[in-house]
């Protein structure tokens, strides 16, 4: 197990937002966490890197690579962040500091994790950019000069830069059009094959789950209602909510799922 959450609850003093969640992710798998907006997926993912604001309390155990993340000192957790655990977010525009070039971002993170040699940093940056199909002219560009798909690919390159063990991808295709989104996911899958990293994939889109995930968990109102292998859940959902979610998912090939009528035909 690379990551296991044991009875994790997150909440303010008055209200629990994530309630008693347990899940475990094996090495090298693509684990999908599915749920509506507001179900607590993102909160849970940020709790893993200890990124929550201090007014939210986390209970339970988060074990990553045999370390209990809750008990680490700030310095130890900083060493894990970026190097062992990386994030990709939905908002690619906001993911980069606007007045720093793409290259500066790469340099800075390598420097923070102990690479003191500027030449090797640059070589590694260009290699990382090329690995996601971007050429090195982007090195000197500013974030606003890149398109959304390019930026999200840079995010992937940045996340994979220090070859982390776990990547948390939080709704990374939501803000992209479907073609760019598809390309970004294909790339992520390809890079996963090459590096063997584990991916925690947070989404509400069943098409991506069907295509990429190995296992998944469904979240509703801060609780996990169902978890297991992809085929088991997609073909034989047990919980009422999972059934509803799968029914509501858009499917292009066939007509509308039975029971639903086209709007306007009534």
């Amino acid at each position: 197990m690379i990551l296991s959450l044991e009875q994790v609850s997150i909440g303010t003093r008055e209200k629990k937002i994530v309630d008693n969640v347990s899940l475990s992710i094996r090495e090298g798998e693509w684990y999908a966490l599915v749920g509506q907006s507001g179900s607590g997926k993102s909160l849970l993912s940020q709790a893993i890197g200890r990124m929550l604001s201090p007014n939210l309390q986390v209970e339970g155990k988060i074990i990553f690579n045999d370390h209990d993340l809750q008990s680490l000192s700030p310095k130890e957790i900083r060493a894990i962040r970026g190097q062992k655990l990386a994030y990709i977010f939905q908002d690619y525009q906001g993911s980069f500091t606007p007045f720093r070039t793409i290259g500066q971002h790469f340099h800075e993170y390598q420097k923070a994790h102990g690479n003191r040699d500027s030449k090797s940093r640059k070589a590694k940056t260009i290699e990382a950019l090329e690995s996601v199909g971007l050429d090195e002219t982007l090195y000197k560009r500013y974030p606003f000069q890149l398109s959304g798909g390019q930026l999200q690919r840079v995010s992937i390159a940045l996340a994979l830069l220090l070859s982390p063990d776990l990547i948390i991808a939080d709704e990374i295709t939501t803000a992209l059009d479907s073609v760019s989104g598809h390309r970004v996911l294909e790339l992520l899958a390809k890079r996963q094959k090459e590096t063997g990293c584990t991916i925690l994939f947070i989404t509400h889109d069943w098409r991506h789950v069907r295509r990429y995930a190995t296992r998944l968990a469904v979240m509703k109102n801060g609780k996990i209602v169902e978890s297991g292998g992809k085929h088991r859940i997609l073909d034989h959902p047990q919980h009422e909510y999972t059934k509803q979610l799968i029914q509501a998912a858009p499917i292009l090939q066939r007509g509308l799922p039975s029971g639903l009528e086209e709007v306007g035909s009534v």
């Binding site: 990124m51 970026g82 993911s95 500091t97």
Partner: protein, 282 residues
């Protein structure tokens, strides 16, 4: 600057304003550098045989009631006034900006404590603090600068805090954090550059106010002490001779007005330059 609004296209007006401000800054800098290089008269040496002389080649602006060269004192006074104003501003910036960044980035308890400290300072007007300080520690320009710093740093801390508060919510700060950067690095490299523009605008507008304050306090005798030349003090010194030699008051008065006006114009220009919203509207 509303009093001077002439009907001109905004951009053109801006350019004219910037031009005047720039010229003024260059002019004053040149004058002060010149003073440093070339001083013909001792600014504090009294010579009662030559008191209250009119314009001459030797004394281009005449001499004052103690026979000191007025031009020399005016130029050196400018150095004092501007120098101490800039000093007060810089110290206020050096305290206020880090306070604001830490407060806005750390939030929670740190923020609350810092801001309450700031509120405590803000509850005294600068004039009161300056008067109390000179009452406690004796009048002097050092105490005046201290009083200005004590009051002014809070406004910078608040300005910076509000910007940082909204910026640090954005994903790029989260990303920087999740990639293992230390808080200090994030504050310095990812947040500080955001506030520089705002701070610059406020600082240039404040400079005028600080110059006025220092001159005003020197005028009532709580700032620069004689025989140190300072514009406000010079105004006060020449008050008894207003009937016979009014120009002795007019020179330092004009100097104060023109410098304050210039800093205001510079501030206005900077504000327009850094105001993104206006750019979008145009």
């Amino acid at each position: 600057m509303t009093g001077l609004s002439i009907r001109l296209p905004r951009a053109k007006k801006n350019r004219i304003q910037a031009g005047i401000a720039l010229l003024g800054v260059v002019f004053f800098s040149a004058v002060f550098i010149y003073t440093f290089l070339y001083l013909r008269h001792d600014p504090v040496l009294t010579d009662l045989d030559r008191r209250l002389l009119g314009m001459s080649l030797q004394h281009p602006l005449g001499t004052d009631q103690l026979g000191r060269d007025v031009l020399t004192r005016l130029l050196l006074g400018g150095q004092q006034t501007l120098g101490y104003s800039l000093l007060a501003l810089m110290v206020a910036l050096f305290i206020g900006v880090p306070f604001g960044i830490i407060s806005g980035y750390k939030r929670g308890l740190v923020d609350r404590v810092f801001m309450r400290i700031g509120d405590a300072f803000l509850s005294f007007p600068d004039t009161i603090v300056a008067i109390v300080l000179s009452g406690l520690m004796g009048p002097g320009i050092g105490n005046l600068v201290l009083a200005i710093v004590l009051v002014k740093w809070v406004s910078y801390a608040r300005l910076v805090r509000s910007t940082v508060l909204s910026e640090s919510q954005k994903d790029y700060v989260l990303i920087a954090r999740i990639n293992g950067l230390s808080s200090r690095k994030i504050m310095r490299k990812h947040l500080l550059p955001h506030v520089v523009g705002h701070v610059l605008v406020l600082a240039s507008l404040d400079l005028g106010k600080i110059i006025l304050l220092i001159s005003a306090f020197s005028y009532i005798g709580l700032g620069a002490q004689p025989p140190m030349p300072e514009w406000g003090a010079m105004l006060n010194d020449s008050r008894p001779y207003f009937q016979s030699r009014p120009e002795l008051m007019i020179y330092p008065g004009l100097a104060i007005v023109s410098v304050v006006l210039l800093t205001n114009m510079l501030g206005d220009y900077l504000r327009d330059r850094f105001d993104v919203k206006k750019e979008v509207q145009q």
